[in-house]
Protein backbone atom coordinates (compact mmCIF):
# COMPACT_ATOMS: atom_id res chain seq x y z
CA UNK A 1 0.00 0.00 0.00
CA UNK A 2 1.02 3.58 -0.45
CA UNK A 3 3.03 5.13 2.34
CA UNK A 4 2.55 8.81 3.09
CA UNK A 5 5.66 9.89 1.20
CA UNK A 6 4.74 7.87 -1.82
CA UNK A 7 1.25 9.20 -1.53
CA UNK A 8 2.57 12.72 -2.04
CA UNK A 9 4.63 11.88 -5.12
CA UNK A 10 2.89 9.04 -6.92
CA UNK A 11 -0.67 10.25 -6.60
CA UNK A 12 -0.11 13.69 -8.24
CA UNK A 13 1.61 12.08 -11.22
CA UNK A 14 -1.27 9.63 -11.62
CA UNK A 15 -3.86 12.41 -11.39
CA UNK A 16 -1.90 14.42 -13.96
CA UNK A 17 -1.87 11.36 -16.23
CA UNK A 18 -5.63 11.03 -15.79
CA UNK A 19 -6.06 14.68 -16.78
CA UNK A 20 -3.86 14.20 -19.84
CA UNK A 21 -6.07 11.32 -20.83
CA UNK A 22 -9.17 13.54 -20.53
CA UNK A 23 -7.64 16.57 -22.24
CA UNK A 24 -9.54 17.63 -25.36
CA UNK A 25 -7.72 16.84 -28.60
CA UNK A 26 -8.68 17.54 -32.21
CA UNK A 27 -10.57 14.72 -33.90
CA UNK A 28 -7.70 13.37 -35.97
CA UNK A 29 -5.39 13.15 -32.94
CA UNK A 30 -7.80 11.18 -30.78
CA UNK A 31 -6.89 7.83 -32.23
CA UNK A 32 -3.25 8.53 -31.35
CA UNK A 33 -3.74 9.50 -27.71
CA UNK A 34 -1.40 7.35 -25.61
CA UNK A 35 -2.67 5.72 -22.43
CA UNK A 36 -1.01 7.99 -19.94
CA UNK A 37 -2.43 6.42 -16.80
CA UNK A 38 -1.30 2.93 -17.80
CA UNK A 39 2.18 4.18 -18.69
CA UNK A 40 2.65 6.05 -15.41
CA UNK A 41 1.26 3.12 -13.42
CA UNK A 42 3.64 0.71 -15.16
CA UNK A 43 6.57 2.95 -14.24
CA UNK A 44 5.64 3.16 -10.58
CA UNK A 45 4.82 -0.54 -10.39
CA UNK A 46 8.28 -1.22 -11.76
CA UNK A 47 10.20 1.31 -9.67
CA UNK A 48 8.43 0.94 -6.32
CA UNK A 49 6.55 -2.36 -6.59
CA UNK A 50 6.12 -2.65 -2.84
CA UNK A 51 4.09 0.59 -2.90
CA UNK A 52 2.19 0.60 -6.17
CA UNK A 53 0.44 -2.65 -6.84
CA UNK A 54 -2.66 -4.14 -8.37
CA UNK A 55 -5.01 -2.41 -5.93
CA UNK A 56 -3.90 1.08 -6.96
CA UNK A 57 -4.09 -0.04 -10.59
CA UNK A 58 -7.64 -1.26 -10.06
CA UNK A 59 -8.77 2.00 -8.45
CA UNK A 60 -7.32 4.10 -11.27
CA UNK A 61 -8.79 1.70 -13.81
CA UNK A 62 -12.23 2.36 -12.35
CA UNK A 63 -11.63 6.13 -12.43
CA UNK A 64 -10.64 5.78 -16.08
CA UNK A 65 -13.88 3.90 -16.72
CA UNK A 66 -15.91 6.73 -15.21
CA UNK A 67 -14.09 9.43 -17.20
CA UNK A 68 -14.41 7.54 -20.46
CA UNK A 69 -18.00 6.50 -20.00
CA UNK A 70 -17.00 2.86 -20.37
CA UNK A 71 -18.59 -0.06 -18.57
CA UNK A 72 -17.34 0.05 -14.97
CA UNK A 73 -14.48 -2.44 -14.71
CA UNK A 74 -13.54 -2.48 -18.38
CA UNK A 75 -10.27 -0.59 -18.01
CA UNK A 76 -9.84 -1.80 -14.42
CA UNK A 77 -9.52 -5.45 -15.48
CA UNK A 78 -6.91 -4.60 -18.12
CA UNK A 79 -5.00 -2.41 -15.70
CA UNK A 80 -4.89 -5.13 -13.02
CA UNK A 81 -3.65 -7.72 -15.50
CA UNK A 82 -0.93 -5.45 -16.90
CA UNK A 83 0.34 -4.38 -13.47
CA UNK A 84 0.27 -8.00 -12.33
CA UNK A 85 2.47 -8.94 -15.31
CA UNK A 86 4.82 -6.08 -14.40
CA UNK A 87 4.98 -7.41 -10.85
CA UNK A 88 6.01 -10.83 -12.08
CA UNK A 89 8.76 -9.48 -14.31
CA UNK A 90 9.81 -6.13 -12.86
CA UNK A 91 13.34 -7.27 -11.98
CA UNK A 92 13.94 -8.24 -15.59
CA UNK A 93 12.33 -5.16 -17.13
CA UNK A 94 14.30 -2.81 -14.89
CA UNK A 95 17.71 -3.91 -16.14
CA UNK A 96 16.78 -3.79 -19.82
CA UNK A 97 17.81 -0.82 -21.97
CA UNK A 98 15.24 1.89 -22.65
CA UNK A 99 14.72 0.60 -26.17
CA UNK A 100 14.07 -2.94 -24.97
CA UNK A 101 11.80 -1.57 -22.28
CA UNK A 102 9.82 0.28 -24.92
CA UNK A 103 9.19 -3.01 -26.73
CA UNK A 104 7.94 -4.62 -23.52
CA UNK A 105 5.75 -1.58 -22.89
CA UNK A 106 4.27 -1.92 -26.37
CA UNK A 107 3.33 -5.52 -25.68
CA UNK A 108 1.84 -4.64 -22.27
CA UNK A 109 -0.20 -1.76 -23.72
CA UNK A 110 -1.43 -4.00 -26.53
CA UNK A 111 -2.58 -6.61 -24.00
CA UNK A 112 -4.61 -3.97 -22.18
CA UNK A 113 -5.97 -2.48 -25.40
CA UNK A 114 -7.08 -5.86 -26.69
CA UNK A 115 -8.71 -6.73 -23.38
CA UNK A 116 -10.67 -3.46 -23.45
CA UNK A 117 -11.74 -4.00 -27.07
CA UNK A 118 -12.62 -7.58 -26.24
CA UNK A 119 -14.96 -6.51 -23.44
CA UNK A 120 -16.52 -3.95 -25.81
CA UNK A 121 -17.06 -6.75 -28.28
CA UNK A 122 -18.67 -9.03 -25.72
CA UNK A 123 -21.26 -6.40 -24.76
CA UNK A 124 -21.94 -5.78 -28.45
CA UNK A 125 -20.37 -2.38 -28.98
CA UNK A 126 -17.42 -3.55 -31.03
CA UNK A 127 -15.95 -0.52 -32.78
CA UNK A 128 -14.70 -0.73 -36.34
CA UNK A 129 -11.30 0.83 -35.99
CA UNK A 130 -8.39 0.37 -38.33
CA UNK A 131 -5.33 1.45 -36.38
CA UNK A 132 -6.21 0.22 -32.91
CA UNK A 133 -2.52 -0.42 -32.19
CA UNK A 134 -1.62 3.26 -32.64
CA UNK A 135 -2.13 4.35 -28.98
CA UNK A 136 0.13 1.50 -27.84
CA UNK A 137 2.73 2.40 -30.45
CA UNK A 138 2.75 6.08 -29.45
CA UNK A 139 2.86 4.97 -25.81
CA UNK A 140 5.99 2.89 -26.49
CA UNK A 141 7.53 5.84 -28.36
CA UNK A 142 7.12 8.26 -25.46
CA UNK A 143 8.13 5.68 -22.85
CA UNK A 144 11.90 6.58 -22.78
CA UNK A 145 11.11 10.26 -22.15
CA UNK A 146 8.44 9.49 -19.59
CA UNK A 147 10.82 7.09 -17.90
CA UNK A 148 13.54 9.74 -17.55
CA UNK A 149 11.11 12.36 -16.25
CA UNK A 150 9.54 10.05 -13.69
CA UNK A 151 12.94 8.72 -12.62
CA UNK A 152 14.11 12.27 -11.95
CA UNK A 153 10.98 12.93 -9.94
CA UNK A 154 11.55 9.76 -7.96
CA UNK A 155 15.21 10.57 -7.28
CA UNK A 156 14.41 14.10 -6.28
CA UNK A 157 12.01 12.86 -3.63
CA UNK A 158 14.27 9.85 -2.85
CA UNK A 159 11.42 7.43 -2.90
CA UNK A 160 13.53 4.28 -2.51
CA UNK A 161 17.15 3.54 -1.84
CA UNK A 162 17.45 0.73 -4.32
CA UNK A 163 17.43 1.22 -8.09
Amino acid sequence: MLTSKCYRVVLPTLVLALMLEMFPLPDWAQAYRPEWVTLVLIYWAMAVPEQVGVTVAWIFGLLLDVTQGAILGQHAIGMVLVIYLVHLQYLRIRVASLFQQAIVIFVLLMIKQLLVLWVSGIVGQAPDVGDYFMPSFIGALIWPWLFVVLRDIRRRFTLTKSF
Partner: protein
Amino acid sequence: MQQIFLRGPSVTLRAIILIIASILIMTADHRWHHLEAARGAIETTLIYPLRYIINIPARLFNWTDESFVSHQQLLDENRQLKEQKLRAQVSLQKLSILEKENERLRKMLSAKPKVGEKVLVAELMSIDLDPYKQQVIINKGGQDGVYLGQPIIDAWGVMGQVIHVGQMSATAMLISDPSHAIPVQVNRNGMRSTAFGSGHTGKLELRYIPHNAEIEIGDLIVSSGLGERFPPNYPVGRISEIERPAGETFARVTAEPVAHLDRGREVLLVWHRPPEITEPVEVLSQDEVKNADE
Protein backbone atom coordinates in the same frame (compact mmCIF):
# COMPACT_ATOMS: atom_id res chain seq x y z
CA MET B 1 13.38 -4.18 5.76
CA GLN B 2 13.92 -4.02 2.06
CA GLN B 3 11.90 -6.56 0.16
CA ILE B 4 13.54 -7.99 -2.90
CA PHE B 5 11.08 -10.58 -4.09
CA LEU B 6 7.47 -9.57 -4.11
CA ARG B 7 6.21 -12.56 -5.94
CA GLY B 8 4.33 -15.09 -3.93
CA PRO B 9 0.75 -15.82 -3.30
CA SER B 10 -0.26 -12.41 -1.99
CA VAL B 11 0.15 -10.48 -5.25
CA THR B 12 -1.31 -13.27 -7.35
CA LEU B 13 -4.19 -13.69 -4.94
CA ARG B 14 -4.93 -9.98 -4.93
CA ALA B 15 -4.77 -9.81 -8.73
CA ILE B 16 -7.19 -12.74 -9.04
CA ILE B 17 -9.58 -11.22 -6.51
CA LEU B 18 -9.52 -7.86 -8.28
CA ILE B 19 -10.05 -9.43 -11.71
CA ILE B 20 -13.04 -11.35 -10.38
CA ALA B 21 -14.31 -8.14 -8.77
CA SER B 22 -13.94 -6.34 -12.14
CA ILE B 23 -15.94 -9.03 -13.90
CA LEU B 24 -18.68 -8.84 -11.27
CA ILE B 25 -18.79 -5.06 -11.50
CA MET B 26 -18.93 -5.16 -15.29
CA THR B 27 -21.81 -7.61 -15.18
CA ALA B 28 -23.67 -5.55 -12.62
CA ASP B 29 -23.10 -2.36 -14.61
CA HIS B 30 -23.93 -3.74 -18.02
CA ARG B 31 -26.75 -6.16 -17.23
CA TRP B 32 -28.63 -4.53 -14.41
CA HIS B 33 -27.42 -0.91 -14.36
CA HIS B 34 -27.02 -1.09 -10.60
CA LEU B 35 -24.02 1.18 -10.43
CA GLU B 36 -25.43 4.41 -11.85
CA ALA B 37 -25.45 6.01 -8.40
CA ALA B 38 -21.85 5.03 -7.68
CA ARG B 39 -20.75 6.28 -11.10
CA GLY B 40 -22.58 9.56 -10.54
CA ALA B 41 -20.96 10.00 -7.12
CA ILE B 42 -17.44 9.40 -8.48
CA GLU B 43 -18.08 11.69 -11.42
CA THR B 44 -19.32 14.47 -9.17
CA THR B 45 -16.75 14.29 -6.38
CA LEU B 46 -13.54 13.24 -8.12
CA ILE B 47 -13.79 13.74 -11.85
CA TYR B 48 -15.79 16.96 -12.10
CA PRO B 49 -13.06 19.13 -10.48
CA LEU B 50 -10.49 17.67 -12.89
CA ARG B 51 -12.74 18.37 -15.85
CA TYR B 52 -13.25 21.88 -14.58
CA ILE B 53 -9.48 22.46 -14.44
CA ILE B 54 -9.00 20.96 -17.89
CA ASN B 55 -11.62 23.29 -19.31
CA ILE B 56 -9.98 26.43 -17.92
CA PRO B 57 -7.68 27.06 -20.93
CA ALA B 58 -10.60 26.78 -23.36
CA ARG B 59 -12.68 29.11 -21.23
CA LEU B 60 -9.83 31.58 -20.93
CA PHE B 61 -9.43 31.50 -24.68
CA ASN B 62 -13.14 32.14 -25.21
CA TRP B 63 -13.08 34.93 -22.67
CA THR B 64 -10.12 36.73 -24.25
CA ASP B 65 -11.67 36.14 -27.63
CA GLU B 66 -14.84 37.88 -26.49
CA SER B 67 -13.13 40.63 -24.51
CA PHE B 68 -10.77 41.84 -27.20
CA VAL B 69 -13.11 42.12 -30.13
CA SER B 70 -12.99 45.37 -31.99
CA HIS B 71 -15.84 47.84 -31.86
CA GLN B 72 -16.41 47.48 -35.58
CA GLN B 73 -16.69 43.70 -35.30
CA LEU B 74 -19.25 44.01 -32.55
CA LEU B 75 -21.28 46.47 -34.60
CA ASP B 76 -21.18 44.15 -37.58
CA GLU B 77 -22.23 41.22 -35.52
CA ASN B 78 -24.99 43.22 -33.90
CA ARG B 79 -26.37 44.25 -37.27
CA GLN B 80 -26.25 40.70 -38.53
CA LEU B 81 -28.03 39.42 -35.45
CA LYS B 82 -30.73 42.06 -35.76
CA GLU B 83 -31.29 41.10 -39.35
CA GLN B 84 -31.45 37.44 -38.38
CA LYS B 85 -33.89 38.18 -35.60
CA LEU B 86 -36.16 40.07 -37.95
CA ARG B 87 -36.16 37.20 -40.38
CA ALA B 88 -36.78 34.72 -37.59
CA GLN B 89 -39.65 36.81 -36.29
CA VAL B 90 -41.32 36.88 -39.65
CA SER B 91 -41.22 33.12 -39.94
CA LEU B 92 -42.30 32.84 -36.31
CA GLN B 93 -45.40 34.88 -37.05
CA LYS B 94 -46.28 32.52 -39.81
CA LEU B 95 -45.57 29.63 -37.49
CA SER B 96 -47.80 30.92 -34.72
CA ILE B 97 -50.65 31.31 -37.17
CA LEU B 98 -50.07 27.76 -38.36
CA GLU B 99 -49.87 26.57 -34.79
CA LYS B 100 -53.23 28.14 -33.98
CA GLU B 101 -54.72 26.67 -37.08
CA ASN B 102 -53.27 23.28 -36.27
CA GLU B 103 -54.69 23.46 -32.77
CA ARG B 104 -58.11 24.37 -34.14
CA LEU B 105 -58.05 21.54 -36.60
CA ARG B 106 -56.95 19.13 -33.90
CA LYS B 107 -59.80 20.28 -31.71
CA MET B 108 -62.18 19.68 -34.55
CA LEU B 109 -60.80 16.18 -34.76
CA SER B 110 -61.09 16.03 -30.94
CA ALA B 111 -57.46 15.06 -30.63
CA LYS B 112 -55.35 16.23 -27.76
CA PRO B 113 -53.35 19.39 -28.46
CA LYS B 114 -49.62 18.92 -28.36
CA VAL B 115 -47.93 20.07 -25.19
CA GLY B 116 -45.09 22.54 -25.52
CA GLU B 117 -41.79 21.16 -24.31
CA LYS B 118 -39.64 22.81 -21.69
CA VAL B 119 -36.02 23.30 -22.72
CA LEU B 120 -32.78 24.28 -21.03
CA VAL B 121 -29.52 25.35 -22.65
CA ALA B 122 -26.49 23.32 -21.62
CA GLU B 123 -22.88 23.69 -22.61
CA LEU B 124 -20.61 20.87 -23.77
CA MET B 125 -17.77 20.28 -21.36
CA SER B 126 -15.97 17.60 -23.25
CA ILE B 127 -16.59 15.75 -26.46
CA ASP B 128 -13.78 13.30 -26.83
CA LEU B 129 -14.09 10.47 -24.39
CA ASP B 130 -13.39 7.05 -25.71
CA PRO B 131 -12.67 7.49 -29.44
CA TYR B 132 -14.68 4.33 -30.14
CA LYS B 133 -17.80 5.83 -28.67
CA GLN B 134 -19.80 8.88 -29.52
CA GLN B 135 -20.49 10.57 -26.22
CA VAL B 136 -20.41 14.09 -24.83
CA ILE B 137 -20.38 15.57 -21.34
CA ILE B 138 -22.69 18.50 -20.64
CA ASN B 139 -22.52 20.96 -17.76
CA LYS B 140 -26.03 20.35 -16.42
CA GLY B 141 -26.80 17.49 -14.08
CA GLY B 142 -29.16 16.14 -11.46
CA GLN B 143 -29.45 19.46 -9.64
CA ASP B 144 -30.95 21.03 -12.78
CA GLY B 145 -33.48 18.23 -13.08
CA VAL B 146 -31.71 16.29 -15.83
CA TYR B 147 -32.96 12.71 -15.96
CA LEU B 148 -31.81 9.45 -17.50
CA GLY B 149 -32.91 9.09 -21.09
CA GLN B 150 -33.56 12.79 -21.56
CA PRO B 151 -33.30 13.86 -25.21
CA ILE B 152 -30.82 16.56 -26.22
CA ILE B 153 -31.10 18.58 -29.41
CA ASP B 154 -29.30 21.50 -31.01
CA ALA B 155 -30.55 24.27 -33.27
CA TRP B 156 -30.62 21.91 -36.26
CA GLY B 157 -31.93 18.62 -34.95
CA VAL B 158 -31.80 15.72 -32.52
CA MET B 159 -28.35 15.08 -31.02
CA GLY B 160 -28.80 12.21 -28.58
CA GLN B 161 -29.91 11.26 -25.12
CA VAL B 162 -28.60 11.36 -21.55
CA ILE B 163 -27.11 8.07 -20.31
CA HIS B 164 -25.42 8.96 -17.00
CA VAL B 165 -26.46 11.73 -14.63
CA GLY B 166 -24.04 13.32 -12.16
CA GLN B 167 -24.83 16.09 -9.73
CA MET B 168 -23.46 18.91 -11.89
CA SER B 169 -22.78 17.19 -15.18
CA ALA B 170 -24.26 14.48 -17.33
CA THR B 171 -23.05 12.15 -20.09
CA ALA B 172 -25.05 11.94 -23.27
CA MET B 173 -24.86 9.39 -26.06
CA LEU B 174 -25.02 10.85 -29.56
CA ILE B 175 -27.34 9.38 -32.17
CA SER B 176 -24.23 8.33 -34.12
CA ASP B 177 -23.02 5.96 -31.36
CA PRO B 178 -22.99 2.35 -32.59
CA SER B 179 -25.24 1.26 -29.70
CA HIS B 180 -27.84 3.97 -30.26
CA ALA B 181 -31.08 3.74 -32.20
CA ILE B 182 -33.87 6.26 -32.66
CA PRO B 183 -37.33 5.64 -34.13
CA VAL B 184 -37.83 7.94 -37.12
CA GLN B 185 -40.14 8.56 -40.01
CA VAL B 186 -39.66 10.07 -43.43
CA ASN B 187 -41.10 13.56 -43.30
CA ARG B 188 -42.48 13.45 -46.86
CA ASN B 189 -44.66 10.38 -46.58
CA GLY B 190 -44.53 9.30 -42.95
CA MET B 191 -42.81 5.99 -43.60
CA ARG B 192 -41.45 4.60 -40.32
CA SER B 193 -37.97 3.22 -39.70
CA THR B 194 -35.25 3.14 -37.07
CA ALA B 195 -31.99 5.06 -37.42
CA PHE B 196 -28.98 3.27 -35.94
CA GLY B 197 -25.68 4.98 -35.16
CA SER B 198 -22.63 3.85 -37.11
CA GLY B 199 -19.77 5.13 -34.99
CA HIS B 200 -19.05 7.98 -37.41
CA THR B 201 -20.50 11.42 -36.76
CA GLY B 202 -21.66 11.85 -40.33
CA LYS B 203 -23.55 8.61 -40.79
CA LEU B 204 -26.73 6.91 -39.59
CA GLU B 205 -28.05 3.60 -40.85
CA LEU B 206 -31.74 3.09 -41.55
CA ARG B 207 -32.46 -0.59 -41.28
CA TYR B 208 -35.38 -2.79 -42.25
CA ILE B 209 -36.51 -0.72 -45.19
CA PRO B 210 -37.83 -2.93 -47.99
CA HIS B 211 -36.47 -2.56 -51.54
CA ASN B 212 -39.63 -1.10 -52.93
CA ALA B 213 -40.05 1.53 -50.23
CA GLU B 214 -40.67 5.01 -51.50
CA ILE B 215 -37.62 6.86 -50.31
CA GLU B 216 -35.32 9.28 -52.09
CA ILE B 217 -31.94 10.84 -51.53
CA GLY B 218 -32.40 14.16 -49.78
CA ASP B 219 -35.53 13.14 -47.87
CA LEU B 220 -35.70 14.61 -44.40
CA ILE B 221 -36.20 12.08 -41.61
CA VAL B 222 -37.73 13.25 -38.34
CA SER B 223 -38.17 11.61 -34.97
CA SER B 224 -41.44 9.72 -34.81
CA GLY B 225 -41.75 9.80 -31.03
CA LEU B 226 -42.78 6.16 -31.04
CA GLY B 227 -40.21 5.06 -28.45
CA GLU B 228 -41.74 7.64 -26.11
CA ARG B 229 -38.25 8.86 -25.40
CA PHE B 230 -37.75 11.49 -28.09
CA PRO B 231 -40.35 14.15 -28.80
CA PRO B 232 -41.95 13.66 -32.24
CA ASN B 233 -41.23 15.72 -35.36
CA TYR B 234 -37.72 16.93 -34.63
CA PRO B 235 -35.41 16.63 -37.64
CA VAL B 236 -32.89 13.79 -37.35
CA GLY B 237 -31.13 13.53 -40.68
CA ARG B 238 -31.21 13.60 -44.46
CA ILE B 239 -31.03 10.50 -46.64
CA SER B 240 -27.61 10.51 -48.27
CA GLU B 241 -27.28 7.10 -49.85
CA ILE B 242 -29.59 4.31 -50.96
CA GLU B 243 -28.33 0.96 -52.13
CA ARG B 244 -30.58 -1.87 -53.17
CA PRO B 245 -28.33 -4.92 -53.28
CA ALA B 246 -29.93 -7.83 -55.08
CA GLY B 247 -30.37 -10.91 -52.93
CA GLU B 248 -30.79 -9.06 -49.67
CA THR B 249 -34.11 -8.60 -47.98
CA PHE B 250 -33.70 -4.95 -47.12
CA ALA B 251 -32.27 -1.89 -48.80
CA ARG B 252 -29.15 -0.29 -47.40
CA VAL B 253 -30.08 3.27 -46.56
CA THR B 254 -27.77 5.78 -44.90
CA ALA B 255 -28.59 9.23 -43.62
CA GLU B 256 -26.53 12.20 -42.59
CA PRO B 257 -27.48 13.72 -39.23
CA VAL B 258 -28.70 17.30 -39.50
CA ALA B 259 -27.65 18.18 -35.94
CA HIS B 260 -24.10 19.49 -35.77
CA LEU B 261 -22.75 16.56 -33.78
CA ASP B 262 -19.10 17.52 -34.08
CA ARG B 263 -19.41 21.29 -33.90
CA GLY B 264 -20.79 23.90 -31.54
CA ARG B 265 -20.75 24.16 -27.79
CA GLU B 266 -24.39 24.66 -26.88
CA VAL B 267 -27.07 22.01 -26.76
CA LEU B 268 -30.68 22.04 -25.61
CA LEU B 269 -32.06 19.66 -23.03
CA VAL B 270 -35.71 18.87 -23.70
CA TRP B 271 -38.20 17.93 -21.02
CA HIS B 272 -40.45 15.72 -22.98
CA ARG B 273 -43.61 14.36 -21.47
CA PRO B 274 -44.83 11.40 -23.43
CA PRO B 275 -48.52 11.60 -24.26
CA GLU B 276 -50.63 10.11 -21.51
CA ILE B 277 -51.75 6.65 -22.26
CA THR B 278 -55.43 6.25 -21.64
CA GLU B 279 -56.26 3.30 -19.47
CA PRO B 280 -57.78 0.49 -21.44
CA VAL B 281 -61.39 -0.09 -20.54
CA GLU B 282 -61.59 -2.95 -18.14
CA VAL B 283 -63.85 -5.72 -19.23
CA LEU B 284 -65.32 -7.58 -16.29
CA SER B 285 -66.02 -11.25 -16.53
CA GLN B 286 -69.39 -12.63 -15.50
CA ASP B 287 -68.11 -13.73 -12.06
CA GLU B 288 -66.64 -10.37 -11.33
CA VAL B 289 -69.84 -8.63 -12.26
CA LYS B 290 -71.65 -10.87 -9.80
CA ASN B 291 -69.10 -10.15 -7.09
CA ALA B 292 -69.36 -6.45 -7.70
CA ASP B 293 -73.14 -6.62 -7.43
CA GLU B 294 -72.96 -8.39 -4.13
